[in-house]
């Protein structure tokens, strides 16, 4: 059962393609890692999936189980005004707003879930703090917590480990893996091949060489062609 099917879709800005002929599909409970050099269009692809922008060519279907009210999203960068007054808790709770409903307050179960997520990400003590005064890594974890509150069916993460130290990032990958085992589909952009190898069920390469593989296929190719080295050369 596929949640998302891309067939020969080109993405980009103002008529200029950054990546072409992207094909892949994502099923319920999959863990898709998107790999590619800087500027190869990974973030653009994520935004296209979320319909923040239109594909340049082709159109894609989001089918069974892809429900906008159940998606969590961690942007790579968030432009925020310098002086925005918002506490950590207010930001994290706002993740729940996507279920369409008109209650002017949060439910008890939602508060409990948020608390649990904050505890796993070790930001519970920060909940009353002003967001703009946090360190980069703390901000990243707050936004991840918001995404996790929003995610029921699917979570999209754009370089979630940026700004985190190695212990925090390995714990974060563990918590992502946990919600994946609970049935949430994960689509994640990462630069870390080891992480992709450890957790992903599918791998999508964007850039000059576009390809969509299951992890087993991808491992086979790595051994055969030494894609790693080629990948490094593409970067340069």
């Amino acid at each position: 059962m596929s949640q998302l099917i891309f067939e020969n879709i080109s993405i980009g800005y103002e008529g200029k393609a950054v990546a072409e002929n992207i094909s892949f599909s994502v099923g319920q409970g999959d863990y898709l890692c998107i790999l590619g050099a800087n500027g190869s269009g990974k973030s653009t692809l994520i935004k296209t999936i979320l319909r923040l922008q239109e594909p340049l060519k082709g159109s894609f279907e989001s089918c069974d189980g892809f429900n906008f009210g159940e998606i969590g999203y961690l942007p790579q960068q968030m432009e925020m005004q310098r002086d925005f007054p918002a506490s950590v808790q207010e930001i994290i709770m706002s993740g729940f707003l996507n279920r369409s409903r008109f209650l002017p307050f949060y439910k008890r179960s939602e508060k409990q879930k948020a608390e649990q997520i904050m505890n796993t990400l070790e930001i519970f003590e920060l909940r009353k703090s002003l967001y703009r005064n946090l360190s980069g890594g703390q901000k990243q974890r707050v936004l991840l917590a918001r995404a996790m509150c929003a995610a029921v069916g699917m979570i999209l993460l754009d370089e979630p480990a940026s700004g985190l130290d190695s212990r925090a990032s390995s714990e974060m990958y563990e918590s992502i893996s946990r919600i994946n085992r609970d049935g949430t589909t994960v689509i994640m952009v990462t630069h870390d091949h080891a992480v992709a190898m450890k957790y992903a069920s599918h791998i999508l390469c964007v850039g000059k060489k576009v390809g969509f593989y299951t992890k087993e296929e991808y491992c086979g190719r790595v051994v055969k062609n030494n894609i790693f080295d080629k990948g490094e050369n593409d970067n340069a």
Partner: protein, 281 residues
């Protein structure tokens, strides 16, 4: 002091003074409730532009001899709010330039129309009243007060029902959009509400000073408090307080109401800035 209080009590026995207080407090409440969102969303400029549009509409209503000008001013302002919002979203026409164009255009044409067609013997007085609200709050009719109450209830209701969603689309519009919140619909509603607030606030302080009611309480509060909720709550408190003080001073000292309120708001802002610096230490 005793004398002043007595004088004030005598004034309070006049219905028009009580009307002024009711309208003043409602306007202060509505404008500050949404002021934080408007300032943070960079929509406060739209408020300023709209107040000039409302001035133009009042001029036209005056010339046409429409006695209850709200029924012309409110729809015109709402339509302009929606148009300005659409311009702001359209990257090709710069949003702020469009707003400047509309606001200055409305101001100029409004005055021109009044000047050419008005039969009033006291033209400058009329214009001044519309721009600075000098005495208009003292001439409120019971009907206008009733309309004011209804509109305020709508604005406050809108705010309470959509408080969290307003936070979300203000803090991170892309996240809200990506996770399935209909951001465009909320922005549209927000534009309509801005228009309502501008028209309401114009009764109190006149069209040139409307932005002060939207901007000052929000900025004052933001210099002390640190969460969205506390900023919003405190900006309401400070706005209602400053407006009440302003009206009382205006009555006792016979100063124009609008400018007095704005002066008090400014003083409140300066005090909050100082308090903010001390708190941060």
């Amino acid at each position: 002091m005793h004398e002043l209080i007595n004088k004030f009590c005598v004034y309070l026995s006049y219905p028009f003074v009580r009307y002024a207080f009711v309208v003043g407090i409602l306007v202060a409440l509505c404008s500050s409730l949404l002021g934080v969102t408007l300032v943070l969303k960079r929509f406060s400029f739209i408020g300023d532009g709209l107040s000039h549009v409302a001035f133009g509409a009042v001029s036209v209503a005056t010339v046409l001899g429409i006695s209850d000008n709200m029924f012309l001013v409110l729809p015109v302002t709402i339509i302009c709010a929606v148009l300005l919002l659409k311009c702001g979203n359209n990257a090709k026409v710069k949003g702020d330039a469009a707003i400047a164009m509309v606001s200055v255009g409305a101001l100029g044409v409004g005055y021109l129309i009044m000047n050419i067609f008005s039969s009033s013997s006291n033209l400058n007085g009329d214009v001044c009243t519309t721009l600075f609200g000098s005495a208009s709050i003292m001439t409120l009719t019971a009907d206008k007060v009733r309309l004011c109450i209804i509109l305020s209830v709508i604005v406050v209701g809108f705010f309470f029902v959509f408080y969290h969603k307003l936070f979300s689309i203000t803090f991170d519009e892309n996240f809200a959009k990506a996770t399935g919140i209909n951001v465009n619909a909320y922005n549209l509603m927000l534009a309509v509400v801005i228009a309502v607030i501008v028209v309401l606030a114009m009764n109190l302080v006149g069209s040139l000073l409307v932005s002060a009611l939207i901007v000052f309480p929000a900025l004052s509060s933001m210099s002390i408090f640190r969460s969205f909720k506390s900023v919003t709550v405190f900006s309401v408190i400070i706005s209602v307080t400053c407006t009440s003080i302003g009206i009382i001073i205006a009555i006792l000292a016979s100063t124009p109401v609008g400018p007095t309120i704005v002066a008090i708001d400014l003083a409140g802002y300066l005090i909050c800035r100082v308090a903010g610096v001390i708190v941060r230490r």
